[in-house]
Symmetry: D2
């Protein structure tokens, strides 16, 4: 595995820096694009890393899987969020209006806002509860980046529009401001590739982290299926086709992927393609799947 | 004219009470549906009325014409609002998203929120400026209904979604809360049919109220054309087809119409049809056009 | 009037040739763009013309008003076509699918195909019946341009898609091929500005052509209202706003307009703006409305 | 396996007959809904069956996987069809228009029509070439049901609309009639559960049928990923979530599923749920996945 990922780091070197760094908030736009990291954590306990695998970055939408996991520990809201691919750009209001405030799935912004609403209802301190889970999975030094969270709020008019639209359809239990505060904080989590690979290994391990069940195997499989069909914005089909593994990306340039029963891996490079997925990271995942022969299909 | 409108009041009596009273806020839902009023004000100074023509009701969306008139006194924002019929229900976000935060026209909710934003930018006291204009046109006792305005805010999640969506596209100059406060107040204006007929007569009179120019004739004509193509939610084509006069309706059950060069008229009955227009009021307008032979076509 | 239109011809001279000549069929694309004509026919029998007012061109979508007039002589299909502005480009399938095969109005392609279907049902020789009407209104030498009609068929895949979609919803009585043959022929009618002004004068004259009723006054007014709200593709609101007269345009570069009670006028210049309306023709209509002071508002 | 599927047949017995038999063509509507069959074919050569596993039925959309397989033997058209879930009902024109005639994926009707167009271009006898492939995979007695094919053509207005729309965007190489003839024939293929399980086993076997490569392993995986993300109309996400296996359904009531490396299975029961998938068949697949523990996630 080590030589495989070292080779991949070498092969994608010419793509590192291409694409466009997310620029909607200052804290993201000032990242040096010339960075690449990759880490693997196996279910048998081995770990491998290459490049800047210990540099923390803003995990952004990758956090949607973690908040969903926390929500699924407490409940199963069958009617407030769908399970279908969205077939549209990641933050479209059109579909949300047409479907009367029910988001297509929990991995688009609207769906993750519903998840945050559930956390606010279920926990007296929703943000702390999420942080506790992440620290359990990836280490006690993980924290929210308050500067990023504040910037998200500043520029969050579109997410506020999504939240108010769902509220107008009666699909939000708590105040918009409180729900968005939770949502913007989860997006601001700062983690490294190595931490992410550790963190997501429970999805490769039947829901267990170090023999402790985070979710049951049925829920772990369902989360994996959601990542496969909905995890990479409007390129989920392309990812399934080319990579063949459940994955979730974020506009910070990170992508995590899962090989059920085997391992979790994380890649990071800040330059994004037109769909919001890391250019070098996507190519690294394609090469990993191709050269390792690992695929769920 | 008096016998004409008395006859109409008689002819639509069986429709008064049919339809559905707007029920999204308590202040509207408790209105007695068994009411009908009609008033005519000619450009030569004659006035006629029948039924409950002196009972005040919530003018709601009819106010969009008045706020637009005030905004057009100060400016002409060609790029912030369109002039095209919306072809969709009156508060659709879909079109607004597709067209990148530029509302189709000033007589749908999104467009009227932009108008309110202009008023907030142009006046130190936007609400008072609007109230001053309405009092100039229809009498000093006109006032906002603060209970209705407060209720609108309580249930205004959809309008907040529209405002935040436009803000996310950079098409809102002021804070959402301040703009919506102005918007919800204008909707709460309480006026009678007689007051509305007086108020709107400037649009039949080349823009003049008692020889004083409210807007110039070109702007008056443009406002009339907007009412004809966009004034009655998604039934504007049907209204043009069946009534043949510029008109603007509100969910309080009022409708105003204009015969250019001749007169303004107002009808009111609280029961609404599926498109949000007063059932008895719409029929009264059809009969008025048919029996008087007045039509712009 | 003569000096008015001569002055207009002079004022728009710099716009003649700008825009883009329709190029989807060869017969249209080879037209010299440096042409402009304008003609007026009053209800009192006077006629005026300037520029190339006697040059025939392909009237294209202007024919939709004529086929509708013929259909309305025989029937009133209230449920097969709507009366609302489309709010979308002129040949959109999206709205047609959403509204289950019922076109928004008779002046978009889908609606005109329904009209053609009615003509095929109502007449043993639909094409001849339409030609008879046009000859009655504008002269016996009017004819279909078979080369244009054949070209339309060659490139008519999109209209075939519209027709088959409506057929799939059960909203087409006859075979697609036969209906489209009628439709493509009507679009191929070749007429001059002078002929068009004569032809459309019945809509300014309470439905009468030389004291003979073509349609009754109620239908004439309804056709005028449809032209105002739906006659110029997705710029109908702009036309109502800027010109203030019922009008119908075609991609051949012609536009007809009606001043109820007064006159019909026709302009022509082949260069089209982005919405498919003649650039110089649109400007000529704006100037005519502004300088004559004629407006329905 | 045998006891597993016998148990499933028993467990779903109460669902057999529920739902609604496809009724858009007579040949399908007259099927007795009280039927259920299931068959498994393993990559190691074992086969199991229960219920009416030898009764042939119309495979309908299941054939899209077979025509795609044949097309992929000859070419790889990257730009004529996408790979993304459609997020809409299976035959929507809206998305096809918005995306300028490029179908979302090869497993919706529009995409399968493009596949048929490729077959017509690549083979002198496209229908025979497809039949040859199916006979190679499932036996020489497989045939088209000409009565079903003729019925499909009779009621095929919507598919004609799709084809003409794509032609209008330049995304169809051959005549609409010829392409649809191929498409309607492939839908008419009549096969039993046992034949389908045999037929699809190459997708569980790295693309090989009895040691002969039908497609290479990369293409087999890609077809599996398309089935997972797009194979069951607008319930693909739900299928991935609940079943966790690549699957393709048809309105004849059949569904095939693949466990990569292990087996292919086919179920059949004519009653359909609201999304067009067999009610008892869907439940049978859920039980198979749950009770066998087989899942790609």
């Amino acid at each position: 595995v080590q030589s495989l990922i070292d080779q991949i780091a070498n092969d994608v070197a010419n793509l590192v820096g291409s694409g466009k760094v997310a620029d909607y908030i200052p804290a993201l736009s000032c990242i040096d694009p010339q960075q690449f990291g990759m880490a693997v954590q196996t279910t048998s306990g081995d770990s491998f890393a290459t490049g800047q695998a210990d540099t923390r970055f803003s995990i952004q939408s990758i956090s949607k899987v973690l908040s969903l996991t926390l929500a699924l520990q407490a409940r199963s809201d069958r009617h407030r969020v769908g399970k279908e691919p969205s077939g549209d750009p990641f933050n479209s209001l059109t579909q949300l209006e047409y479907e009367r405030g029910i988001p297509r799935n929990p991995l688009i912004n609207a769906g993750a806002i519903i998840t945050a609403d559930c956390l606010v209802s279920d926990h007296t301190e929703a943000k702390q509860a999420l942080l506790d889970l992440v620290r359990q999975l990836a280490g006690n030094s993980i924290h929210f980046d308050e500067e990023v969270a504040a910037s998200e709020r500043e520029t969050g008019a579109r997410n506020a529009a999504l939240a108010y639209l769902m509220k107008s359809f009666g699909n939000l239990e708590n105040e918009v401001d409180q729900v968005l505060d939770t949502y913007f904080h989860q997006c601001s989590l700062a983690m490294s590739c190595r931490e992410l690979a550790n963190c997501f290994c429970y999805l490769a391990n039947a829901g267990k982290h170090q023999d402790k069940a985070i979710v049951d195997i049925a829920r772990a499989r369902r989360i994996n299926s959601l990542m496969l069909t909905c995890g990479t914005y409007d390129r989920a089909g392309e990812f399934a086709f080319e990579v063949g593994l459940p994955a979730k990306s974020g506009v910070g340039g990170g992508i995590v992927a899962v090989v059920p029963g085997e391992l979790a891996l994380a890649v990071w490079s800040p330059g994004l393609g037109p769909s919001g997925n890391s250019v070098a990271g996507t190519e690294a995942l394609k090469l990993f799947a191709k050269n390792s022969g690992l695929s769920i299909f």
